[in-house]
């Protein structure tokens, strides 16, 4: 999992007070009916209150049950409120960014007028200069600028945005740090990126996902089933003279219906979106997050995802008769003043191999140019050290009347065949050897792909490299397949082919030419640095612009579903023990031999019912952290995951409440002597 979200503007935890107030507000009937399971508990509360007032049961017991039921509803509301509050904290900081934006709009004649940002329409042109805030989402049509996007991404390092490139998108509310840009507005007021983000994180009009709807049906049916069980019970019991109090019936009903998962379901949904946001991924819908869990194939760009993206020195190959140290020192000298990443990596490698030379005095650095295709250093005493492409160095050495050993070409070919780039080093008239520059594979990526494979997710690498290089990197990184010399349309074709085979495909993209593929993919993760077209086409945006984030998104999606499934199982498994607590209590008065079923040896019928109800209520807040965080997820095969989760939440769900209810009973009888 990515851990690069330390700066994410997510307010954690400390918002319990508003959440508490919200829990009471959510008691309003129009909110209560949205959740059928908890609505039944709420109705039960009212019913027990009426029954107690009417004197159908002892006041002490009646009010205790009523109170516990009310608290159960409040706990469920609280779970939802806490999840919402977390999002709202983030929304508040986003809102501050949106507030009072002013725009300098250009009309057709190029004249500037200052207008409030809310008056901007798509295709308006606005000017933004150093120190000003970008008034709306748009695309740079003129100029280059560094921009601080901290308000949106929480990342304080400035980013470069430039017209006519794949990094031309700007977000309203972000700050231009340098230069002047002209931006073409792309979003309607109220539909900007920020607006969308705010409404998403607040979870205000959250759409239920397909899986959530399906699970909702299951929970509603279970609730109805138990309603039937409880409503028919007094008639069946009446035949053998068992009179069952209405308060006891409500207690039984509430214990049986899946209140645990029912109470936590909205919180789980909101928390899933928040978890994605915490990883700085903005999903356009909750569905997108869940679909990520179903993905079978990941299309990954090589650069930035699998490799660091710049070539780095990985080995020195000295020619026959040349000392290794001689080559390394020459390479080091030629690169000391070289500002390119390649040059720096040569210095780093040489230092690692033990070369301790420092920058000599009076050295003259010769920079790389497209004409010479080599760089190096001129030292006092006519010492000319160069590094560069083989043909450039051969030309250079020959011009000094030097000799090019026949061995060189073979060495260069060896390196090239590995998919690496050879760089030849010469000192004066002598060719010393070859530096191997390779595309370095990111650390840990191989293990990550292995984990994905375990989860049944196939990885496909996309690269512009030739087949040889691509095959080598693919083998090193452990991807399942690769597309070499890829053109943008290859991505689209591959996605269609995989989808025709019934697989769900996820991909990352940033350029405008990625847009069709992003739209076609089941999960399209657009880079925040990318063009507006790409961001519109995808169904998620990564604010960190880190292509490797796709892997985290898959895990979040899976975790989301597992959390729901596990808590449903747990909720159902709990019912077994509740039956053993309540049924003997229910029938004890009329049928003394029922005491044999009181396997937990609970003190009294009253205490048994109250203990079961208290457990039923307390388990909701106890599981709020789990609902918000998601159950622990270790990538593994489906069978393995099922086995683990069944053991923890199924078997554990049967056993745990037996112990907990007994414990509550002991405490109750000690404290109140019930």
């Amino acid at each position: 999992m990515s851990t690069t979200h330390a700066n994410a503007p997510v307010t954690e935890g400390h918002s319990f007070k508003p959440a508490l107030i919200d829990s009471f507000k959510k008691l309003a009937p129009q909110h209560a009916v949205k959740n059928p399971v908890m609505a039944v508990v709420w109705l039960g509360t009212v019913l027990t209150a009426i029954a107690t007032l009417a004197g159908w049961t002892t006041a002490g017991f009646g009010w205790s049950v009523t109170l516990i039921l009310l608290v159960t509803v409040l706990f469920a509301n609280f779970a939802e409120a806490v999840a919402e509050a977390r999002g709202r904290g983030q929304a508040a900081s986003l809102r501050r960014a949106r507030k009072d934006l002013v725009a300098r709009r250009l009309d057709k004649a190029g004249k500037e007028t200052t207008v409030p940002a809310t008056e901007l329409r798509p295709d308006d042109l606005v000017v933004v200069e150093e120190g000003q805030l970008v008034p709306a989402d748009g695309e740079i049509v003129e100029g280059v600028a560094t921009i601080n996007e901290a308000a949106v991404t929480g990342e304080s390092a400035p980013v470069l945005r430039e017209a006519g490139t794949d990094r031309s998108g700007v977000i309203g509310g972000t700050k231009v740090l340098s230069d002047r840009i002209v931006v073409r507005v792309t979003a309607e007021p109220g539909h900007s990126f920020l607006d969308r983000m705010i409404s998403l994180v607040e979870g205000s009009n959250r759409q239920k996902t397909p899986n959530e709807i399906a699970l909702g049906i299951v929970l509603a049916v279970l609730t109805l089933t138990f309603l039937i069980v409880v409503v028919t019970l007094p008639f069946i019991g009446g035949f053998v003279g068992v009179e069952i109090n209405v308060v006891l019936l409500v207690a039984l009903l509430v214990c049986l219906i899946p209140t645990t998962i029912g109470g936590l379901l909205p919180a789980i949904g909101i928390a899933g979106m928040n978890r994605a946001l915490k990883a700085n991924v903005l999903a356009k819908s909750g569905k997108a997050v869940e679909v990520a869990g179903d993905v079978d194939v990941l299309l990954l760009d090589k650069t930035g995802t699998i490799t660091y993206g710049d070539r780095q020195a990985t080995a020195f190959h000295a020619l026959a008769g040349v000392d290794g140290t001689q080559l390394r020192q020459a390479a080091l000298l030629a690169s000391l003043a070289d500002p390119t990443p390649e040059g720096k990596s040569i210095v780093k490698l040489a230092r690692e191999k033990g070369e301790k030379l420092v920058d000599p005095e009076q050295a003259h650095f010769v920079a790389f140019t497209a004409q010479t295709r080599m760089s190096g250093v001129d030292l006092p005493g006519e010492r000319v050290i160069r590094k560069g492409a083989i043909d450039a160095i051969i030309k250079h050495v020959k011009s000094l009347d030097g000799h090019v050993p026949a061995e060189l070409e073979a060495r260069v070919n060896d390196v090239a065949r590995k998919g690496a780039t050879p760089l030849v080093v010469s000192d004066g008239r002598h060719v010393l050897g070859v530096i191997e520059l390779s595309d370095v594979i990111k650390r840990g990526i191989k293990e990550r792909f292995a984990r994905l494979r375990e989860m049944g997710v196939k990885t496909v690498m996309i690269t512009g490299d030739n087949k040889l290089t691509a095959a080598n990197i693919a083998a090193d990184a452990g991807v399942d397949d690769y597309i070499a010399e890829a053109k943008p349309e290859d991505k689209l074709a591959r996605i269609r082919a995989e989808q025709a085979g019934g697989r769900l495909v996820a991909m990352v993209g940033d350029g405008t030419n990625d847009a069709p593929a992003l739209a076609q993919a089941d999960v399209g993760l657009a880079m925040n640095s990318g063009t507006q077209a790409a961001k519109e086409a995808g169904n998620m945006v990564d604010l960190d612009s880190d292509p490797a984030k796709l892997l985290a998104v898959v895990e979040i999606g899976k975790q989301q579903l597992i959390t729901r499934g596990a808590l449903t199982t747990f909720s159902l498994a709990n019912d077994v023990s509740k039956y053993f607590a309540i049924l003997p209590a229910l029938f004890a008065a009329a049928i003394p031999s029922m005491a044999a079923l009181n396997v937990m040896n609970l003190t009294s019928p009253t205490s048994a019912v109250l203990s079961a109800l208290i457990f039923n209520a307390l388990i909701i807040p106890a599981l709020i952290p789990l609902a918000l965080r998601g159950v622990r997820f270790k990538p593994a095969s489906a069978t393995h995951l099922l086995r683990n989760n069944m053991l923890i939440y199924g078997v554990g769900g049967v056993v745990l409440p037996f112990i907990a209810i007994k414990l509550i009973d002991v405490i109750l009888s000690a404290l109140f002597n019930v």
Binding site: A214, D294, D296, G456, L504, A566
Partner: protein, 576 residues
Amino acid sequence: MVEPLLLLSLLLVVGWPLGRYLAAVMRGAPMRSDALFSWIERPIYAALGTRPHVGMSWRGYAGAFLLSNLLLAIVVWVIFMTQAWLPLNPDGVPNMSWDLALHTMVSFLTNTNQQHYSGQAQLSYLSQMTGIVGLQVVTPVMGLAMVAATLRGLFGGRQAMSQDSAQVKATDAKVVVDVGNYWADVTRATLRFVLPLCLVLSALLTWQGVPATLAAGPVASPVEATAEFKEQKIPLGPVSPMVAIKQLGSNGGGWYGPNSTVPLENPTPLSNFLEVFAIALIPVSIIFMVAPFTGRRKFGAMVLGTMLTMSVLTAGISLWSENNSATTLDVALMEGKEVRLGAEASALWASTTTQINNGSVNLMLDSSAPLTGMMSMINMLINAIWGGVGCGLMQFLVYLMLAVFLAGLMTGRTPELFGRKIEGPEVKLLAILVLLQPLVILGFTAITLAIPSITGNSNPGFHGISQVFYEYVSAFANNGSGFEGLGDATVWWNVSCAIVLALGRFPSLVIPLAISAMLASKRRAPEGSGTLHVETPTFALTLIGIVIILTLLQFMPVLVLGPVADHLLLTELLAR
């Protein structure tokens, strides 16, 4: 313990080849006996106006199933109400009342054979042979046809199954899923599978002494003759063919009212063994059919393994309860017990007959130990431990889909069955089935118990609850066995049971077929290590867990008030 083990091993040994043969029959594969059967089948197809190789959509298939049931219903109901005037009535049996005829018709139409009449006294030979035996032959085959069609749907329809699964292109949503030809399925399975088996069993039973005649029965004088009871008419008839189909077709409605407790229906220990064996034979063969029929050997093995595990588990408890539980040891409790064949044979039959959904009896459950009765109820509530012909596997598929839904979520993917997603619309249909069972069974049990004038049971107290509950459970499961001791030949019992019978049969056969066809039209994802495999022991255990939990949660209160309280009370009385 010899008999249960012998029974089980024999079932597995015979069921395996029989299942392979049945798969070939249901696939419509060419076979050597084609020449023999096709000259019977061709005229039938011509009369039905169907071309046997042309497939149907799920709507067409279900429609044909419902239409054929409706037609049979009308014919049989009329025969029962007019039998006195029709031929083949040597004993002069009168017409049936409308409600008893309705109940009897629905009961046999739903492959249940719950009997509120006493066979030998209230049905003419014509009624027995058409309404009873006719339906006993054809209704199990209908269930078999429905489950075959559902399996075709689950694997993408006949088109997809006939090709190599690897080469199947993404199914075009507009293509109607071909689930087979209903008329051809029923005809082939009846002629090539069920009737030959009946012939063999009937011959064996006749050899053991079960009557097979069309003559009127003899008159005998009782040992202790009194003024009112000077002579007894011994009813005979074509008993052995009927007993054969009654046992084989998960029917259970005997020629005689007391069923296989009557020596004439079940004369010897060997006949007893044969009859128990016959109960399970076709349902077990159907499970063996799954693998060759669907081409998924592991799936077939999972279904077999799961059912076998549950079967051994519940049969074990029944046997223990009848032999060893606290309520079996006392002589005072021996009233009504089956002593001719013994406790073990009784419990084994009780367990088998309710697991298989047959419903024939060789003991009176009313007199068995309360916990034995409870296990029989649980078997019927689950209704998927082997289960009735076709219906058992169908119910198993329903549990399978429920388990896939829950287990699928726990593996972090949208639940998929054989690569096809189970989503909102499918869950909604499943929800109807989940809800229907408690609604119907508990609803009618509560109404009946709450109004003493309609209850009509012979026992007050907990045992009375068991009697009423059992009757509706048996009706809903289309089992047909009775706890007995119930004055159930009343208008209320007849009509309410007829409703329960129909609700237990038709939705549970049609809805899974509809779901399978909905799944078949979805995009099929390849199965990998990330997708849930239903063919693993882990999943099988999950499935068993879900079956037990679901049944327990829905029916534990009434089971506690009925058999459990009964057991506790008896234990307490014995202790004094």
